[in-house]
């Protein structure tokens, strides 16, 4: 099991939105706002097939980062974090495979369940791939200010 510093897991649990940064074919960072879903071991994000360019980038280069920076998205907390990790795209079943994360998603965005029931209105939005991030390193700014150096933690593992 990955060990992530507790303040970072608190941010992951609270964040309505985080910024996933992937690397495109030209080696440039590309940032996408997405809802981070933390299951206690890995970070998950979901991507509709409508907006699947990020998936192509991850297949080309699995090194990614996820930052949580917006105080409004974490209930006013001012601390910030970035998690570097290795991503894997899970797409065995774009129609329903991602729904296993629905309970975590619903806690952050309760309306998603209502929208899912009405998936006939926007069917492709609910054809989704999962992005699974295995954390490797975290950067944590306790007061959210980049004027101070972040606490950097290499993510360790312990037996599950």
């Amino acid at each position: 099991m990955a060990i992530i510093p507790e303040p970072v897991t608190k941010l992951l649990d609270a964040a309505l939105v985080g910024e996933l940064t992937v690397i495109d074919g030209n080696g440039r960072p590309v940032t996408y706002p997405l809802i981070p879903l933390w299951d206690g071991e890995k970070v998950y994000l979901t991507s509709s097939t409508l907006f699947s360019r990020k998936l192509e980038h991850i297949r080309g280069n699995p090194k990614v980062s996820l930052s949580i920076t917006d105080p409004d998205a974490v209930g006013g907390a001012i601390d910030r974090a970035t998690i570097q990790g290795d991503a894997r795209v899970i797409e065995e079943d774009p129609h329903g495979g991602w729904e296993r994360l629905l309970p975590i998603w619903e806690k952050k965005e309760p309306s998603i369940v209502y929208f899912l029931k009405a998936r006939v209105a926007l069917p492709l939005f609910f054809e989704r791939a999962l992005i699974e991030i295995t954390p490797r390193r975290t950067f944590y700014w306790s007061d959210g200010d980049a004027a101070a150096a972040p606490a950097v933690t290499t993510v360790g593992t312990e037996a599950a």
Partner: protein, 461 residues
């Protein structure tokens, strides 16, 4: 097709300046992206952004870095809204503890500028490419899915069958009020007419896909822009064409049964004309809707043809003025459903050469056209009563006038906003449905009064 509007670096920087902070990202020497929040001073004039170098981290100067602004507004118990983000890329220089980025390219999305549904529609090609790639990788077709019920609902546009059920039932009730009623023929007429509309709905998708009209439309709504199941990869063009053929064959078979059992010259003429109008709506060579005749074709098909067709099945071919006059308000209101639904489709329709009335005419003329037609529907109804052609209870339809006002008043403020117009389109559909139900109710009253007090006349004069 681009999913988001093209942004140049200047515009990107101008947008970036509106965010309370920016997220600086780069790829570190280990090959991972790093992101850190900074407070940048953006100068769109010289395409630059400057900020204090983040402590403890080295911003590279030999590769492009990015600055991102991202915003949501949390909505407790719901989720969030007001989504927008923008990213500007460029090389960085570091001097005296300050980082300067020269903006070169930008990308972003703001749902206030491009509504989420339009953004999604513009991205449909990306989803298609995704499934194509997945299919190639697995060596077997992988397609998006919907449950059978939802797929049927979406593919056939089943809820719109009220446009058929209302006039056909009205024709049957008027015939019954004239003393002619065969329940089995009535049921067959309703089913057959529904098959005609299902054939029309599905054929419309086939021909609008072939012409490119549905692909060109990036602002479809639940009332307009077709079912989109072909665009979404849920149903193939061939499957849709087959389905349409099956519906028309079933409609034809029922039509033959009715001709054999309740046949008349009038029914034959109405059946043949109805088939031509239905298929010719979008199909070549007639393509009525492409020639600005779609509204007339729909008025004719879902008004006099449906209503009189149902009437003559019951009467064995005898025609009368009453069902014809009763069909006109219904025809006008159903044509107005199409007419209003064509407003958000007009740009895509124009690109595909579909010369509908909203494509041909200005906003002012289109709205005036709506007002004239809807007033005509009520005037003809009242005249029908005054002249003794229609029974007095049909005046119940006047109860729907407030809905007509709502639609009329809602057109101008939402003319350029397809998603704002959705509510108006919904009311317009309700206007036709409720007017139809009130007319049906009126004829039930006529039947009941005829049964319990045959000496009482419900006609003026």
């Amino acid at each position: 097709m681009r999913s988001t509007p093209e942004l140049d670096a200047r515009t990107g920087l101008e947008k970036l300046a509106t965010y309370p902070y920016q997220i600086l990202s780069w790829v570190d020497d280990a090959g991972y992206p790093v992101s850190v929040a900074v407070d940048a001073r953006v100068n769109a004039g010289d395409l630059s952004a400057r900020f204090a170098a983040p402590a403890g981290l080295t911003v590279p100067t030999d590769r492009e870095v990015s600055l991102t602004g991202s915003h949501i507004r949390p909505q407790p118990g719901y989720g969030y809204d007001e989504r927008r983000h923008v990213t500007v890329w460029g090389p960085a220089t570091v001097s005296g503890g300050t980082v300067a980025i020269a903006g070169r390219t930008a990308w972003g999305w703001d749902e206030a500028e491009v509504p989420f549904f339009e953004y999604s529609e513009r991205s449909v090609g990306k989803s298609r490419a995704y499934f194509d790639a997945l299919s190639a990788e697995r060596g077997t077709p992988v397609k998006p899915k919907l449950s059978f019920g939802f797929l049927t609902l979406r593919t056939t546009r089943l809820p719109f069958l009220t446009a058929t059920i209302v006039p056909v039932t009205l024709g049957i009730l008027i015939a019954a009020s004239h003393g002619s009623f065969d329940p089995i023929a009535a049921l067959l007429t309703i089913i057959g007419a529904c098959f005609v509309q299902l054939g029309l709905n599905t054929a419309n998708d086939v021909f609008d896909t072939l012409s490119g009209a549905d692909d060109a439309n990036v602002t479809p709504t639940q009332f307009s822009g077709g079912s989109r199941v072909i665009q979404y990869g849920l149903v193939s063009l061939r499957q849709m064409a087959t389905l349409s053929t099956v519906f028309y064959v079933l409609a034809g078979l029922i039509g033959l049964v009715l001709l054999a059992t309740h046949g008349s010259t009038a029914l034959l003429v109405i059946g043949v004309v109805g088939f031509i109008v239905s298929l010719g709506y979008t199909a070549p060579p007639l393509k009525f809707v492409y020639r600005g005749l779609g509204e007339i074709a729909v008025a004719l098909g879902f008004g006099p043809l449906m209503l009189l067709g149902a009437y003559v099945v019951q009467t064995g071919g005898a025609l009368a003025w009453e069902p014809f006059v009763a069909s006109i308000p219904v025809a006008l209101l159903v044509a107005l459903i199409l007419y209003v639904n064509e407003i958000p489709d007009r740009r895509g329709d124009a690109r595909a050469g579909k010369r509908t009335l909203p494509v041909r005419f200005s906003e002012t003329t289109v709205i005036a056209g709506y007002n004239v037609a809807v007033v005509a529907a009520y005037v003809i109804l009242v005249l029908g009563v005054v002249l003794g052609v229609l029974p007095i209870p049909v005046l119940l339809m006047l109860l729907t006038i407030p809905l007509a006002f709502k639609v009329s008043r809602g057109l101008a403020p939402n003319y350029e906003n397809p998603y704002g117009l959705m509510a108006i389109m919904g009311i317009n559909v309700q206007l036709h449905l409720r007017a139809g139900l009130l007319l049906l109710g009126a004829y039930l009253i006529v039947l009941i009064v005829g049964a319990v007090a045959p000496s009482v006349s419900l006609f003026i004069g």
